[in-house]
Amino acid sequence: MNIIVILFPLALGLGLLGLGAFFWCMRSGQFADLEGAAWRVLQDDDAAVPPSEKQAR
């Protein structure tokens, strides 16, 4: 049963880690714009445009 003495603090620690991550998300404004983020992922502005497509534009 001694294993419990190790396992429970471990489980709690992991939970606290998650809580800490949640607080960090809040502070850094991850929840400020829930709609925009869904669209932002589709933007390909960081990818180089292939030459053939460049002509098409």
Partner: protein, 732 residues
């Protein structure tokens, strides 16, 4: 053209960096977002631009030395987006802080309830098997270690609200919650101390978790409406032409105008400040302020109010602090009188709490005494009594109403209706008489052509080009109605007469009846449209007379019919003359009409209706309607309304059409139906769970299952209406 000055909106930071928040019209999709961000990003002086798609705002940062704030707005304009600078209000910051603290508490409660459940499940399993009592105690102590600080932190909003209510001598839902939470914690610690089998730490923390979700939803909805209302205020972009210290005229946002400043109002502009005329003479259209449509003459030393339209001459106005005007003073006084009656309304959830709290507390006291009389030892009797309290804790009740409100508010929002108060839905659903203002509410705020048959299609363009050349409000309205914005350049304007262009037989004239020699043609038009302003046109021998006046909002008729079908009585209370109101009332078939009313009269009439037990729905837009809007049981206002009217209304709708009024009523009734369903479900749940608790069979496992089950059911019941158009539009 005077220069724009937006410096009041800029926030300065270290290192010469300036930032500004802008509300942007027309951000709809990811494409717009990318266009704005990359478009502004190409400008070297701009350090960063970030779009918030949910709020339809952009925040921009730039190097102060290289760019004026006006250039940022121009830049966005060049990209095809109209942007309006924005000052965040203090009140808004408080709401954001409140929301964040609720979210943090929610996070802590969620974390704690999951971890305690981990321990509790082991105890429940062990209790039916052969758990070692030492291990069980260890688990209980661990749970207590997590639950006690969590309850102290996450439960604070409820404890504080309960204390406030008790101090005021009232009972709200938070009183039974607080008593339940505190007793359950104390009892659980005592149980753990005496090596007992049952502890309710999991139930307490889970209860707080569910209740916080309800509280958070409530707050979220309120903040979202406030944000959008803030955008609307910015989109109105009210500016004034101010005389700067260096003697130049600059266009300045209203926020930067101080009492004592001098402001120029040209003919055709709307007055945006309250003040005294210093120089100039003109006529004012005060329909937005008083409802009266006939123009009033104004001269030096007289008082003007924001919202009036300057018709004929330029005015220089010395600004006075808002609220000092005699009319505004009067309206302010009426407003404070009116708001009192609104606050007497008791929300559905508080009404439920009033019934619920005494019942539950009596029940658990009776349980305690009953078991004592039955011969049980007092600690066991007390424990059963406390389980009754825990199991009846209004977990589902706390979620029942906010969940529906959020779902209904988003359904309203999709139809361009904005809810400002959560409980407005409940009040709107109860309304049994709809009182309309006329000017600007039943009718459009801008005048329109009432006799299009008098206008030959081939003449439209030439009349439009002539009308567009003038700054006179009637001519401008005519040009807008004809869809013409490119004026002729060779137009001569004769003051107080009209416009003319061309020579001899080809001369064209637009203006007064005398000026165009068209009195004969005017007779029949005058009898057909008695309230309208007549404007004549002559081209050689051709003459016609157009009647310009207020036309009904689109869907006005259908909306009135829909309201009637929903069982509401319809009435018009107007500040305008009886002759102007009568044709509108006749057209809509409304018999209950009163005209020529002062703001105080409107409020008194509403009060007497309320005294007769009527629940009044008031729809109005003018400054003169503001007290009535604040005093009515529930009120709506179009987005074109004056500031004060919008602030007093519970619900604001966008667009020209009147249809949102009927839509809002339909949705409110549906939402109230859902709320009542949820409340009845909570009653049903208690009817099943309470006897089990009284009998002493309610273990922590039963409590946990019952609580989470009932919360889930009410939430799902609310969500079943989410995103379903058919649900809201089906017949109530």
């Amino acid at each position: 053209m005077a220069a724009q000055d937006l410096s009041v909106f800029v926030r300065h930071r270290d290192g010469g960096i300036a930032s500004m928040e802008l509300a942007v019209d027309g951000i709809r999709c990811a494409g717009c977002m990318q266009a704005i961000e990359s478009g502004l990003g190409r400008e070297p002086a701009i350090l960063g631009a970030r779009v918030n798609l949910a709020l339809k705002r952009v925040s921009v940062e730039w190097r102060e030395a290289l760019l004026r704030p006006e250039a940022v707005v121009d830049k966005l304009g060049a990209l095809g987006f109209k942007a309006y600078p924005f000052v965040a209000e203090r009140q808004e910051d408080d709401a954001v802080a409140e929301e964040r603290s609720l979210m943090r508490r929610l996070g802590v409660a969620g974390f704690a309830s999951m971890n305690i459940m981990l321990l509790s499940v082991a105890v429940w399993a062990g209790n039916s098997g052969d758990i070692d009592p030492t291990t069980r105690d260890f688990f209980h102590w661990l749970s207590a270690l997590i639950a006690l600080p969590t309850a102290a932190y996450a439960g604070r909003p409820f404890f504080e609200s309960a204390l406030r209510a008790l101090k005021a001598g009232a009972v709200n839902m938070d009183v039974p919650i607080t008593i339940g939470v505190v007793l359950a914690l104390v009892m659980s610690v005592a149980e753990t101390w005496t090596h007992g089998r049952h502890a309710y730490f999991d139930g307490v923390v889970m209860l707080l978790f569910f209740l916080l979700i309800g509280r958070y939803l409530d707050q979220l909805m309120r903040r979202r409406t406030r944000d959008l209302a803030g955008n609307l205020a910015a989109l109105k972009a009210e500016t004034a032409t101010k005389l700067a210290d260096d003697g130049n005229w600059t266009i300045t946002p209203i926020a930067a105008i101080a009492p004592g400043d001098r402001v120029l109002v040209r003919p055709g502009e709307r007055v945006s400040v309250d003040g005294i005329v210093e120089a100039g003479r003109s006529e004012l259209d005060q329909s937005l302020v008083t409802g009266e449509t006939a123009p009033a003459a104004i001269g030096e030393g007289e008082r003007v109010h924001a919202g009036t339209l300057n018709l004929t001459g330029a005015l220089t106005i010395r600004v006075e602090a808002a609220g000092q005007g005699t009319l505004l003073d009067e309206i302010d006084r009426l407003m404070s009188q009116a708001v009192g009656s609104r606050s007497r309304y008791v929300r559905l959830s508080d009404r439920a709490a009033r019934l619920y709290a005494p019942m539950v507390h009596t029940l658990s006291a009776v349980t305690f005494l009953g078991w004592l009389a039955w011969g049980l030892a007092w600690p066991e009797a007390l424990m059963i009594a406390v389980t009754v309290l825990i199991i009846t804790c209004p977990c589902a009740l706390g979620l029942a109403i906010p969940a529906v409100q959020v779902v209904a508010a988003s359904a309203l929002f999709k139809r361009k209706i904005m809810l400002k108060e959560g409980d407005a839905l409940e009040r709107l659903a109860e309304a049994d008489i709809a009182v309309f203002d006329k000017t600007g509410t039943l009718t459009l705020p801008e005048p329109d052509i009432l006799n299009p048959e008098a206008l030959a299609p081939e003449r439209r363009a030439e009349i439009g080009a002539l009308a567009a050349a003038s700054t006179h409000p009637l001519a401008q309205a005519l040009a807008r109605a004809l869809g013409n914005t490119s004026p002729r350049t060779d137009v001569r304007e004769e003051r107080g007469q009209g416009l003319s262009a061309g020579k001899g037989d080809d001369e064209q004239r637009l203006g007064s009846l005398v000026f165009c020699d068209a009195e004969a043609e005017a007779v029949s038009v005058k009898t057909l449209h008695p309230g309208a302003s007549l404007i004549a046109y002559r081209h050689g021998a051709y003459r016609t007379v157009l009647a310009l006046g207020q036309s009904l909002r689109p869907d006005a008729r259908a909306t009135i019919d829909a309201l009637r079908a929903a069982g509401l009585e319809i009435a018009i209370l107007s500040g305008d003359r009886a002759e102007a109101v009568a044709p509108i009332a006749a057209e809509l078939g409304i018999a209950h009409v009163q005209a020529g009313l002062l703001p105080a009269d409107k409020l008194n009439l509403l009060d007497s209706m309320a005294a007769n037990g009527r629940k009044v729905l008031m729809i109005g837009d003018g400054l003169n309607d503001a007290p009535a809007l604040a005093g009515a049981h529930v009120s709506l206002s179009p987005v074109s309304a004056t500031h004060l009217a919008q602030a007093a209304a519970d619900i604001v709708f966008l667009g020209d059409s009147l249809a949102p009024v009927a839509a809002a009523l339909g949705i409110a009734r549906k939402a109230r139906g859902l709320m009542l369903q949820n409340l009845w479900f909570a009653v049903l749940y208690n009817a099943v769970a309470v006897p089990i608790a009284i009998a002493g069979f309610a273990t922590p496992l039963v409590a946990a299952v019952a609580m989470s089950g009932s919360s889930l059911v009410v939430t799902l019941n609310a969500l079943r209406a989410r995103g379903r158009k058919a649900f809201w539009e089906a017949e109530a």
